[in-house]
């Protein structure tokens, strides 16, 4: 190109093909002649700097944009024209050297990257080309990328913290925690696990979990998902072969990448030992109570026999005072005998084996009522019973239970004849029985105390009895794995409830 007019984009001079291309590029192109004057100014620049080609041609950059005085762009143009050096001006350092504005947001300067390169033209000498690119897109990309990076860094930081926390919780847990695969391979174990099993899981060659808790293999094989999570007692085997009782629950971990399980448990040797000791002492105590009451019966019978004789032979023969003394002794002996009998029964209910069978409750109630015959008649009580279900229980104890509860309802009646209603409700696992009366009732604050041994709420003179009947009821129900409780409204009546398992 020997004449810059070939590129000159004034309306009067037609553009060459090269000029047309430059005119339509999506970047700013300017040519500066050897003296730095604009000899070409494309449409991109004209639109964005708002200086048309006619105004740009023949002027230097500094004349058009005085703010460029002393700028890197000026130096670069100088270097290109005088020394022949090419330069780049990056957006990161210069932001927006030329006052070029966006077409859509007219007040916003375009972020630019500018290249300045010398061109040696045989005719014009050393001229210089300026190309200006809009790097908004790259900038947006970068900002998004940086933000994403930062978010990622934040997330991984909080993830790291959460992991550390989890780790600390697991490491510090008192429970043994083992993570294992479906085939029993142990992936991780905390220090408590190492202590419980006396085995260094982290450094020693791995044995499968089954070697430590054999039952878990079976559990997993049965794949009873709902049962896995339950805490259950198992036999544990320590690294040194010692066997011990342990309590453990197994959970499948809810992660998608791998089928992993955790076993969480603790050594219960100590608890087992104290439970055993407690059971032993309980049994001994029961044995003692039984033996004591049994052995007390013998001398009491002697006393009873001889006071009977004394009464028969000498009543009315000494004096009125002596008769009174003898009466007191006789009553005392009778009461003691009742108490001892009740105690014996109470301890028998606790110690005799429960003989479970399917029992028709209706027939049980009939038997209990017939046992209560005299008291029932005397009181004029009306007992109504809806059809009752069959349960799995010890028949004799069940008769006793109903007899005590119905007997109580008769005993603690008001002046009018007692009305007693017996009902049963079938539940999913248990039957609930209700025995409701219209008697004197109990202050609800005593609702629990009345089931305790020797607890009486009334004077013996008002309502006779040993104070042990409800304790026996409680014991019977508990030995059948049921529960017993009551509700009451003083002066209106009470309702006793108890549950029994539905089947064997």
């Amino acid at each position: 190109m020997t004449d810059s007019s070939a590129l000159r984009n004034t309306p009067t001079v037609p553009l060459s093909l090269g000029g047309l291309v430059l005119e339509h590029l999506d970047c700013g192109i300017a040519l500066l002649d050897a003296t730095g004057k604009v000899c070409y100014w494309n449409k991109w620049l004209a639109q964005r700097t708002r200086i048309g080609p006619a105004d740009a041609l023949g002027r230097t950059l500094l004349e058009m944009f005085p703010e460029l005085e002393g700028s890197q762009l000026s130096f670069c143009v100088e270097d290109a024209l005088q020394v022949g050096l090419s330069s780049v001006l990056s957006q990161s350092i210069h932001k927006s050297p030329l006052p070029a504005f966006r077409l859509d947001l007219e007040s916003e300067r375009i972020p630019q990257q500018i290249q300045v390169a010398p061109i040696l033209d045989p005719g014009l000498g050393r001229i210089c080309i300026l190309s200006v690119s809009d790097v908004s897109a790259a900038l947006t990309r970068e900002t998004t990328l940086h933000r994403a990076n930062r978010e990622l860094a934040d997330k991984s930081e909080s993830l790291k913290r959460a992991q550390e926390l989890n780790r600390a919780v697991i490491e510090g847990a008192a429970e043994a925690i083992l993570v294992f695969e479906r085939d029993g391979r142990i992936c991780d174990a905390n220090p408590a696990a190492a202590e419980v099993f006396r085995y260094d899981f982290r450094t020693r060659s791995a044995k499968p979990l089954w070697d430590f808790v054999p039952a878990i293999r079976e559990m997993l094989a049965q794949e009873v998902g709902s049962r896995l999570g339950d805490m259950r007692e198992h036999l544990g085997v320590r690294g040194d072969g010692e066997r011990f009782p342990l309590e453990m629950s197994v959970h499948q971990l809810e992660i998608t990448s791998q089928e992993l399980y955790t076993a969480i448990g603790r050594d219960i040797s100590e608890r087992k030992q104290s439970e055993d000791a407690l059971q032993r002492s309980h049994a001994e105590l029961q044995q003692f109570a039984y033996a004591a009451s049994h052995d007390l019966q013998e001398p009491l019978r002697t006393i009873s026999g001889f006071t009977g004789l004394l009464r028969k032979r000498y009543h009315g023969q000494i004096d009125a005072k002596a008769d009174g003394y003898i009466d007191h002794v006789t009553q005392g002996v009778e009461r003691m005998s009742n108490l001892i009998e009740a105690l014996l029964e109470y301890s028998k209910v606790g110690s005799a084996p429960v003989e479970l069978e399917t029992v028709d409750t209706s027939s049980v109630v009939r038997e209990a009522l017939s046992n209560l015959g005299a008291a029932l008649e005397e009181s004029g009580a009306v007992v109504t019973s809806l059809p009752l279900p069959a349960v799995c229980a010890d028949r004799r104890q069940l008769v006793r239970l109903f007899q005590n509860l119905i007997g109580n309802a008769i005993k603690f009646r008001r002046d009018d004849a007692p009305r007693i209603e017996i009902r049963a409700h079938q539940g999913r696992r248990t039957h609930r029985f209700e025995i409701e009366d219209n008697g004197i009732g109990v202050d609800p604050s005593f609702a629990e105390r009345i089931f305790e041994v020797f607890q009486r709420l009334h004077l013996r003179e008002e309502y006779p009895g040993t104070g042990i009947g409800l304790s026996i009821c409680k014991r019977i129900v508990e030995r059948h794995h049921g529960e017993i409780w009551m509700t009451s409204e003083p002066g209106r009546g009470s309702c006793f409830y108890f549950t029994l398992p539905t089947g064997v």
């Binding site: 890197q72 130096f75 270097d79 020394v83 022949g84 050096l85 090419s86 330069s87 780049v88 001006l89 990056s90 957006q91 990161s92 350092i93 990257q113 290249q115 390169a117 010398p118 040696l120 050393r126 790097v135 790259a138 900038l139 990309r141 970068e142 990328l145 940086h146 990076n149 930062r150 860094a153």
Partner: protein, 206 residues
């Protein structure tokens, strides 16, 4: 092997030192902070020697700014940074950069580094032109990233090319970086270069 006399070496050193002075002041203006640039040593080396020095102590990837120049004599100018130093340099130029998130250069950061390299290489070429009267034209620089071998291959035209090799020390605020400047030229170009230096500095004015 191309060799220079002690006087020629001194003269070339002087040319580059003046160039570095100019580059430092340009960079200081850009980063609004004092920039120190120095050339502790300058040597003529073969490709394998250059490779050895660049690969020394690390096989990490390198960043480079590559610029072709032509004129009185021609060749390729390279400014090479180990990646670690290039990151340091970017941090020095942009003090607000988040220290944690940088492990590679983003597009715009590469561009910034390209400009810094361009300024340094132009200062060298410009200094030769100013002081020796040689005339040059440089092409728009490009940014290269990759292994030492990849970068050198891009800048080399023939196996027999010689390297005028300089190690540079950058100091911006508290940060300090090492970079390398290499002028890759064939023997005729080197000879032309030497002639220019001789003419400008070593001819007896009488």
């Amino acid at each position: 092997m191309f060799e220079l006399t002690a006087e020629e070496t001194d003269a070339i050193n002087e040319v580059f030192n003046i160039g570095m002075g100019r580059a430092a002041s340009s960079l200081s203006r850009l980063v609004r902070s004092e920039v120190g640039l120095s050339i502790p040593d300058l040597d003529f080396l073969s490709l394998s020697e250059v490779q050895e020095i660049l690969a020394e102590g690390s096989d990490l990837s390198m960043c480079a700014v590559h610029e072709r120049f032509s004129g009185t004599f021609g060749g390729n100018a390279l400014l090479v940074f180990p990646s670690v130093d290039s990151l340091e340099l970017v941090k020095a130029i942009f003090p607000d950069t988040d220290e944690n998130q940088l492990d590679s250069l983003s597009e715009l950061e590469q561009e910034a580094l390209l400009e810094v390299g361009n300024i340094i290489l132009n200062a060298c070429v410009g200094s030769i032109a100013n002081l020796t009267g040689a005339t040059f034209s440089t092409e728009i620089p490009i940014f290269l990233q990759g292994s030492v071998e990849h970068i050198l291959t891009r800048a080399q035209q023939a196996k027999t090319d010689e390297y005028l090799f300089m190690r540079m020390r950058f100091r911006i605020q508290v940060r300090s970086m090492i970079g390398y400047v290499a002028f890759v030229m064939d023997i005729p170009s080197l000879e032309a270069f030497r002639d220019c230096v001789r003419k400008a500095f070593l001819t007896d004015p009488a």
